[in-house]
């Protein structure tokens, strides 16, 4: 494999890792506050549709992004109302949200655009275009570093850089602010937070809302940056890979970056090569597709380091009277 091929694979790694990273951080905020969220997939899908639809109708991708975030937030709040206010089962609520998104997106797309459950292709200002960082052309000639800068670092859409920025931002928010400390505490021991006079419900709703915003950006990225328009079920399990990455990262922001880059790399390789031949053995493409899931099961099983979720995860908080 020569340098250019390697760079191309790494470049598509970054592109494919971006939605995973955003969704993974979304799940991180929610689960750190003690709310399990298996509805990441659904929220991304909903955002993908509404961002593409609004971007197409208005011709502005920024309005599309806003619509995507808004639609994802609505589903987030639904999850919040079901699992925080009414203390319902968080897993069931997540399952319902996934189905709701899978059904509604196609239903509305068919009703609005009549193109078999997809949006028309986005062109021009209707989608995020890649940014050329300064000097990418001029530095092209520099050996090694030039192509790395031009191919790998430059030439992504703004959402990619935004997603990467979200990593230190999330770390700072969670580990260096009062809000972050309380948010993490509410996922470990909500009774203590309550005793300190801080609203458990408020914190959890805040976490769920952050989760909705990040999922919204992830979905908008899928439909308006990675691809040009919405197609049925376009998230294709990414919400679950993000969930896997979250466990892989043991609920920590920087590790989430590495985990999603790893899973993005696996996707990039599977996309580029149908099957990989290592000497005598041929690795089928299907194995590449499921490697994230297999790795996660191994991690979860505790054979390679143990993944311990937030202690109060999945349980509704009932105030003692």
């Amino acid at each position: 494999m020569d340098l250019i091929t390697l760079l191309q694979v790494l470049d598509s790694t970054v592109r494919l890792a971006t939605p995973l990273l955003l969704a993974c951080l979304a799940g991180l905020f929610s689960e750190r506050a003690g709310i399990f969220d298996i509805g990441l997939e659904g929220k991304m899908l909903m955002a993908a549709f509404f961002s593409a639809a609004v971007a197409f109708v208005s011709g502005s991708v920024w309005l599309g992004l806003l619509a995507g975030i808004g639609s994802s937030l609505v589903l987030s709040l639904l999850h919040g109302v079901a699992s925080i206010t009414f203390r319902g089962n968080q897993l069931i609520s997540g399952v319902a949200i996934n189905f709701l998104a899978a059904g509604l997106t196609v239903l509305i797309a068919q009703s609005w655009f009549k193109e078999g459950g997809r949006t028309p292709s986005l062109i021009g200002a209707g989608r995020f275009n890649s940014l050329e960082l300064p000097f990418a052309e001029t530095l092209q000639g520099v050996p090694l570093l030039g192509p790395i800068y031009a191919e790998l670092i430059s030439g992504h859409t703004i959402l990619v850089y935004l997603a990467l920025l979200c990593v230190p931002a999330s770390w700072w928010l969670l580990y260096r602010t009062r809000f972050g400390l309380r948010l993490r505490a509410v996922g470990e021991n909500p009774a203590a937070v309550d005793a300190a006079g801080v609203s458990v419900i408020g914190l959890r709703f805040a976490a769920v809302a952050i989760c909705g915003v990040l999922c919204g950006i992830a979905g908008a990225y899928l439909a308006t940056a990675l691809q040009a328009g919405f197609v049925k079920d376009m998230t294709a399990g990414r919400g679950f890979i993000a969930l896997a990455a979250l466990i892989f990262a043991k609920w920590r922001p920087w590790h989430a970056l590495w985990a999603t880059l790893l899973f993005g790399f696996l996707q990039a390789v599977a996309l580029r090569y149908q099957s990989i031949e290592l000497g005598q053995i041929t690795i089928p493409v299907q194995l590449m597709d499921v490697l994230p899931y297999i790795l996660t099961v191994i991690i979860l099983a505790g054979f390679v380091g143990k993944a311990v979720p937030p202690k109060a995860g999945g349980e509704a908080y009932v105030k003692e009277r």
């Binding site: 009414f86 319902g88 399952v95 239903l107 597709d289 899931y293």
Partner: protein, 365 residues
């Protein structure tokens, strides 16, 4: 807070949830510019207006009975088995191997073998997440989700690279031999002289599903194992003090749950397609969750809920055929049912409990 009477808990709460879900679904249909009344009429005539419609309704219901029972059994043990989809896929592999390897002389011999094959494959696929939950504490929801994806990829590999006949481009197995052909409901009812649609999909697996309902009822409420499963689901510490091994019960409950999911394959793979195709399960594993929630994890409730979803599926197909409403409408309805009967259960329950408490107080004074 005072408890509600049992009938309200078992019938009134699900009924109100269902009405809410139906009402919202009607609004959705209105919002996309269609007439909900006409849609419901079309669904009823399409699903229940002919013996062909009935046959397909019962075919879908058969799938959902198996996956609903699977989810219910795991639920009784306090386990959230979201992996029915993968287990049913692996069950399909089991059925395909049984049907293709042995030249069956008669279906009556092939069926028990296929049930065994599907159950074993489904159970084994549930065993690993079950064991990991019991011994390593890995969250069963995550592992079963992962196992769904792994099963889909594994099946994809098997169908494309291993089991596909060399002459075919289709990622599917060869057609099962004639000896493994299951009689359709038409054939069964013809024995009794009852005329029934020839073209419908329902087959003899329906009776296996009904038998499974009875067996699950006996298991859960009339055996020692069922008692232990329910005890574990109610309180792990209490059951531990009673000398019940959580590890053992978790693994056994998951084995039974997986076997039930796997058995779905005798209906959709052996009874209908008569070969194993990609994505044969079509999401029936997830509908099992809705069915079990609505049926309150009781086999009889599961049966009724499965019939309702069978009606929705057949009616929805007819809608997609005759109107511009896509099939995805059923997915929305399914989501609303899960939402109201599952996650928003307390929203319906809390006001009802208050009403019952008030009525009781009024009658006492």
């Amino acid at each position: 807070m005072d408890r509600m009477p049992a009938w309200a808990d078992a019938i009134l709460v699900p009924l109100i949830s269902l009405v809410l879900a139906a009402g919202l679904s009607a609004l959705v249909i209105l919002a996309i510019g269609e007439d909900p009344v006409a849609a419901v009429k079309l669904m009823i005539t399409g699903a229940l207006g002919s013996s062909y419609g009935w046959s397909n309704t019962l075919y879908y219901a058969t799938n959902f009975i198996f996956t609903g029972l699977a989810f219910a059994v795991a639920s009784h043990a306090g386990l959230f088995n979201i992996g029915s989809e993968g287990q049913a896929m692996m069950g399909g592999l089991g059925v395909a191997i049984v049907c293709l390897m042995i030249p069956w002389p008669h279906w009556a011999m092939a069926l028990p073998a296929a049930i065994l094959g599907s159950a074993v494959f489904g159970a084994l696929w549930a065993l690993i997440p079950g064991w990991l939950q019991a011994r390593r504490g890995s969250h069963i929801v995550i592992t079963t989700i992962m196992f769904n994806f792994i099963a889909a990829a594994f099946l994809n590999y098997m169908l494309v690279n291993v089991m596909r006949p060399e002459t075919s481009m289709d990622p599917a197995t060869a057609k099962f031999p004639a000896g493994a052909h299951l009689p359709t409901l038409h054939d069964v009812l013809a024995v009794f002289g009852i005329p029934f649609s020839k073209g419908g999909l329902a087959n003899v697996s329906l009776f296996v599903a009904l038998a499974a309902c009875v067996l699950v009822w006996v298991l859960i409420w009339r055996t020692r194992l069922g008692y232990e499963i329910r005890a574990l689901g109610k309180s792990e510490s209490a059951s531990r003090y009673a000398g019940i091994s959580p590890t053992r019960i978790i693994v056994i409950a998951m084995l039974i749950s997986g076997a039930l999911s796997g058995c779905m394959a005798i209906n959709n793979v052996m009874g209908e397609a008569e070969r194993l195709i990609l994505n044969a399960t079509e999401g029936a594993g997830f509908i099992g969750i809705a069915v079990a929630l609505m049926g309150r994890n009781h086999p009889f409730g599961v049966l009724l809920a499965a019939l309702l979803f069978g009606f929705l599926y057949q009616g929805g197909s007819e809608l997609a055929l005759w109107t511009s409403i896509p099939r995805e409408l059923i997915v929305v309805i399914q989501a609303l049912v899960i939402l109201f009967t599952g996650a928003l259960d307390n929203m319906v329950r809390m006001p009802l409990e208050r009403i019952f408490a008030w009525v009781r107080k009024e009658t006492q004074t």
